[in-house]
Amino acid sequence: MSSKTDPRSDTRIPRLSSLSALEFTVLIIVGAVVIVSINDVSPSPQRFVEGLPRMFKLVERMVPPNTDPQFLWRIFLRLVETFQIAIAGTAIGIALSIPIAWMSARGVTPLAAGAFVFKSFVSFFRTVPDLVWALIFVASVGLGAVAGTMTIIVDTIGFCGRFFAEAMEDADKEPQEALDAIGAGRFTVLCGAVIPDAMPSFINTGLFALEKAVRSSVVLGLVGAGGIGQELKVAFDLFQYQNASAIILAIFVIVLLMEHLTDRLRIRFS
């Protein structure tokens, strides 16, 4: 029978595309790594079952959340401090990001070869996690909100420095050339053409940075860098689970509120 008329001829198309020996080996290695990792560090079913009642017990001890007015007032003040860390850190961080981004943006920078130095700085700020920065600043300036604000500044520069520079690189080239031709300097080209064109992107990035800052300023207190996180750590350390649940709820509300607010602002400005 010719294969043209044989309805079973499609069985000759392999169900799986063939693998090379190398691809097969890589696949086996990846599979082994996944299985070993799961085996080593993820909860075994037995441990999970054993832990479950304790988890329920913890939740039970958390309810009802503490609603003592005096306690809530203290939490409120800590939340205000958290916000202040986020806002001050983001504002200062954004203000520092603009010149740094200018220095590192290709084609816009007044430095020809030195731009990579600033780019590397920004990368370094970004790749070191914020809790590590917080530990460094707590060790150098002491416990409290100042260390937290410094952490947010560095974090914001790492984030905004990169995206501001990208927005500057993507800004419309024609107006820049037009201003250059009439004798405008690098700085006036930046202020007159690049920044106005990149403004929507700046606002967007800035709002994301603020949202990120609120979220990280919440946890910075865990290492002693001020804000609500400090209260949370104390509550857990002293087994005050009803306090802890009140704080967790407050954090949840605040972060949600912040996300909603920045979303609204983003729509308004873009």
């Binding site: 031709a181 009439i182 004798g183 700085f187 006036t188 007159g192 053409a193 106005p196 064109d197």
Partner: protein
């Protein structure tokens, strides 16, 4: 002086971008104060290169260009070149406006590069005499009522007229325009060119523009300089240029 002073003098100008890529050869050209000169030629004839050579944007391979009394290639520093460029207005094919700023801010940009030039980055912080100058330049291109409109809300023709206002606001002796009407539809193109040539004439500004539109050149220029394969094909007052001459420029 009987003879009007010349703003630009090219002598034996040649430009090549490599050993076998001569773009311009043996160009001798004088441009006199108050003239309106059209540089015409087909794509690749060397119009833009010549225009850029006139303001020192390209180093020359041979010959010399004296613009506004200074030889660009003999000026060592960027600062000295900027000083000359401040007396020149530029208009580009795609207007080059900052889209998110108002028409007035864009016109005030024309003052960038002047003393205290940084204040020209936005109309809000510009000295009031510059804002006034900007408004009267917009008035001259009949866009006074669009002063507060953002550039991205303007039509192509309106944008190009704002770009012309940006060049006028500097009160230049010379305006150089690279294909000012090429990106516009025929009606808007004629409107822009008419306004442009009238304004420069009324203010005694010398205008040099490139075009590949024979009609624009014949109608609005006093003199037509035709380029063909990097050489001057003819250089004549426009009333002495026949339709036939123009067609020859664009034919191989």
């Amino acid at each position: 002086m009987l003879q009007k002073s010349n703003l630009i003098r090219c002598e034996n100008l040649a430009k090549s971008f490599g050993p076998d890529t001569a773009v311009l050869r043996g160009i001798n050209l004088d441009i006199f104060e108050g003239e309106c000169v059209a540089l015409i030629g087909s794509n690749g004839a060397g119009k833009s290169t010549l225009l850029k050579s006139l303001i020192g944007l390209h180093p020359l391979t041979e010959g010399s260009v004296v613009t506004l009394g200074e030889e660009f290639n003999a000026l060592p520093t960027g600062k000295q070149r900027q000083k000359i460029r401040r007396q020149i207005g530029f208009v580009f094919q795609n207007h080059g406006l900052v889209k998110r700023l108002t028409a007035l801010s864009n016109v005030v940009h024309g003052m960038l590069g002047m003393t205290r030039g940084w204040r020209a980055v936005h109309q809000a912080i510009a000295p009031s005499e510059w804002r006034e100058a900007g408004l009267s330049a917009l008035n001259a291109v009949r866009l006074r009522d669009k002063a507060a409109t953002r550039a991205d809300q303007l039509s192509g023709g309106q944008s190009q007229r704002v770009a012309i206002a940006r060049a006028l606001v500097r009160n230049p002796r010379l305006i150089i325009a690279d294909e000012p009407a090429a990106s516009l539809d025929p009606v808007a193109g004629h409107e822009v060119m008419k306004q442009f040539s009238n304004l420069t004439k009324d203010n005694g500004i010398t205008l040099v523009f490139t075009s590949h539109d024979m009609d624009h050149a014949a109608r609005y220029a006093d003199r037509i300089v035709a380029l063909k394969a990097g050489k001057i094909y003819f250089d004549r007052p426009s009333h002495k240029v026949s339709k036939r001459d123009l067609q020859n420029v664009f034919q191989d």
